[in-house]
């Protein structure tokens, strides 16, 4: 009960940022880069174990952008020049140029490596087909639906790999899902393809959105758990989920990943208690709002410590172990 987790990404250590730079300029080999990615992954795993999280992530040390990482490994995608997302941040956007096919697994290798380092469950991390489509250019498919459904098949194969490899949790992120409420049916249809026949518990993370436009319809998304942000809006969006009743498991984001400020433990505890007034205890997980990669390593660690300690105290106060 009240298991703690993180959403997916961790900040990359400086040596890895440098190595990725060197690799992109062909100054170091792929094997050299991978060696450092594995080292950074080990550190992320040890840190999570030491902090006392219940469900771990591998930290996404091998990934840049969550969509581009997969697109680069799929046939049918090209990659554009840099496009600005905000202030001075740029990303390379995938371009769908033909039918999308998978030639080899993308997420499996790092999952297996990370799971081999710990007894605790590691979440298998995937990007959902709707978000893959929404964050790509499309030069080939007649409709967005065609592209989304093609991607759903590909992401399903990725999910099957992780399932077979023993992942207890598979998370399929769909942060773009709240962008166009009129396409929610399509996103649901695609997720049905992705999660079909999986034994693992499935999770979907959704963020940056106006939940009022997608609730309660989003409860039809075929996953066991929704992972949503709350801290970022100071829990004012909690009200939305009061009525009708939330029927899935929920991971409640209790620390803001876009703020340098480390939350006060008392505040986090108060927010957890607030969440427990709306969601039944046995269905609640606690995590940060979103991936931690935009924070410094120190900030990420400090936020997680506050979070874990707050959960521990709330549990004690409730007489839970």
């Amino acid at each position: 009960m009240l298991l703690t987790a993180t959403v997916g990404s961790f900040p990359k250590p400086d040596y890895l940022v440098k190595a990725r730079n060197l690799f992109s300029r062909k100054k170091i080999s792929e094997e050299e880069l991978k060696e450092l990615e594995r080292k950074a992954t080990q550190d992320v795993i040890s840190l999570q174990e030491e902090i006392g999280l219940d469900i771990l992530v591998h930290g996404e040390m091998e990934r840049g952008d969550m969509v581009t990482f997969f697109a680069e490994r799929l046939e049918g995608f090209g990659i554009s020049g840099p496009v600005r997302s905000y202030s001075n941040r740029y990303y390379k956007k995938p371009i769908a140029k033909g039918k999308i096919k998978r030639t080899s697994p993308s997420a499996l290798e790092m999952f297996q490596y990370a799971q081999g380092l710990t007894e605790k469950p590691i979440k298998g991390m995937l990007t959902g087909p709707y978000t893959m489509c929404d964050w790509s250019f499309n030069e080939y498919f007649q409709t967005r639906r065609d592209l989304v459904l093609n991607l759903a098949e590909v992401v399903h194969q990725e999910a099957l790999d992780l399932d077979k490899a023993g992942a207890k949790y598979i998370q399929i992120d769909e942060p773009a899902i709240s962008t166009r409420p009129d396409e929610l049916d399509l996103a649901i249809e695609a997720m049905k393809i992705v999660t079909d026949g999986l034994k693992a518990k499935t999770i979907s993370h959704i963020c940056y959105g106006d939940f009022t436009t997608i609730y309660p319809k989003i409860l039809d998304l075929p996953v066991n758990q929704l992972d949503l942000e709350f801290a970022n809006s100071d829990f004012t969006n909690l009200e939305i989920f009061k009525d009708p009743t939330f029927t899935k498991e929920i991971a409640v984001g209790v620390v803001d990943v876009h703020s340098h400020i480390i939350e006060k433990k008392e505040k986090v505890k108060e927010n957890i208690r607030k969440a427990l007034e709306i969601f039944p205890l046995e269905k609640v997980y606690i995590d940060p709002d979103c991936g931690l990669k935009t924070r410094t390593p120190e900030e990420a660690e400090a936020k997680l410590r506050v979070m874990v300690s707050a959960v521990k105290e709330v549990k004690e106060e409730m007489g839970l172990r």
Binding site: S80, P82, V83, R84, Y86, S87, Y90, A176
Partner: protein, 326 residues
């Protein structure tokens, strides 16, 4: 003769290693490795490049590419008392973010936002130039109002402030002023309010004024949209293809900016399709009243594709004009 224009923003960086690199200059400035003067130089070099690229492509009415802007509201929000700059939030249905202004107290004009940069554009261009500003309603919709909590009041207050900006832009030589109101497409029930607000901004201006509506449809805005106090209206023909028929079936009698090239997808338009579209439009409206443009600002595209779209646009328009199809 059909003319060409752009909607506003333009990619700030290129993949050409010899071009001024604003991204790296900003990084260095943030790490205190270069001075403000050096950053300023990078801005000016970049804006000159953007002006030159539009001119060389042959665009008739250009902008400065909004190179100094992080997003369409912050440059204005910064210069208004009573507003704070808030956190990042998604800009419409794009995978792009803007900083949400938060209304904390009564708003008051503090300083001009775009006047200096407009002067720079004017001085450094040989073509006609256009000033662009966020519209009062879109500004209000993109903000979080902790003070009025009333969209009408906020919109009208912002209109009064933007009016000062428009007036000053005209004083320093703006002959064309474009006001962007994408939010109107998604709140058609507010059309009377927006009409009133735009009237406040444009009242008494001698400059030619345009209202641009990107990302959305105009179905529910007709016919009132055509009575707005502006000289022309810009319409996104890509996000909502039905906009073409809606405008063709109307009795619109002002100038038109037709956003025909998809500025949110790298796919290039088929030239024949564009020519057909120009044909249909010019059968109904005099080509002298029409500008062809991308569907919205070009910054959603990587630089090379953006430039290619501009070149394609001008080339097809020239071909159309030469062929005398009109």
């Amino acid at each position: 003769m059909l003319k060409t224009t752009v909607v506003g923003n333009y990619p700030k960086i290129t993949e050409d290693k010899s071009a001024p690199n604003l991204r790296s200059a900003l990084n260095k400035f943030n790490q205190c490795k270069i001075s403000e003067e050096e950053l300023e130089k990078a801005y000016e070099q970049t804006i000159r490049r953007v002006i030159k690229e539009q001119e060389e492509a042959g665009v008739d009415l250009i902008t400065d590419g909004q190179i100094r802007w992080d997003d369409p509201v912050t440059p204005f929000a910064r210069n208004i008392d009573g507003l704070e700059i808030g956190g990042l939030i998604r800009f419409f249905d794009n995978n792009v973010y803007y900083r949400r202004p938060i209304v904390k107290s009564k708003l008051a004009f503090k300083d001009y936002s775009t006047v200096e940069e407009f002067k720079f554009l004017k001085q450094n261009s040989t073509k006609k130039v256009k000033a662009v500003m966020v519209g009062p309603f879109t500004f209000a919709k993109l903000s979080k109002d902790e003070y009025h909590n009333e969209i009408d009041k906020l919109t009208l207050d912002l209109a009064e402030i933007l009016k000062k900006e428009a007036k000053k832009l005209e004083e320093v030589g703006a002959d064309f002023i474009q006001i962007d109101e994408p939010s109107l497409c998604f709140s058609p029930e507010k059309i009377d309010l927006v009409s009133r607000a735009i009237k406040i901004v444009t009242e008494g201006l001698k400059a030619k004024t345009f209202l641009y509506l990107y990302f959305g449809g105009i179905r529910n805005l007709i016919p009132k949209l055509f009575d707005f106090q502006v000289d022309g209206i810009g319409i996104d023909m890509v996000s909502k293809p039905e906009n073409l028929n809606l405008i063709l079936e109307s009795s619109f009698n002002k100038e038109l900016i037709l956003g025909c090239l998809d500025a949110r997808n790298t796919k290039l338009q088929d030239e024949e399709e564009l020519l057909n579209l120009f044909d249909r439009v010019t059968q109904k409206f005099s080509p002298e009243r029409i500008y062809i443009s991308p569907s919205c600002g070009l910054e959603f595209l990587p630089h090379q594709t953006a430039l290619m779209k501009l070149k394609t646009m001008v080339q097809v328009v020239n071909e159309f004009n030469r062929s005398g199809r009109d």
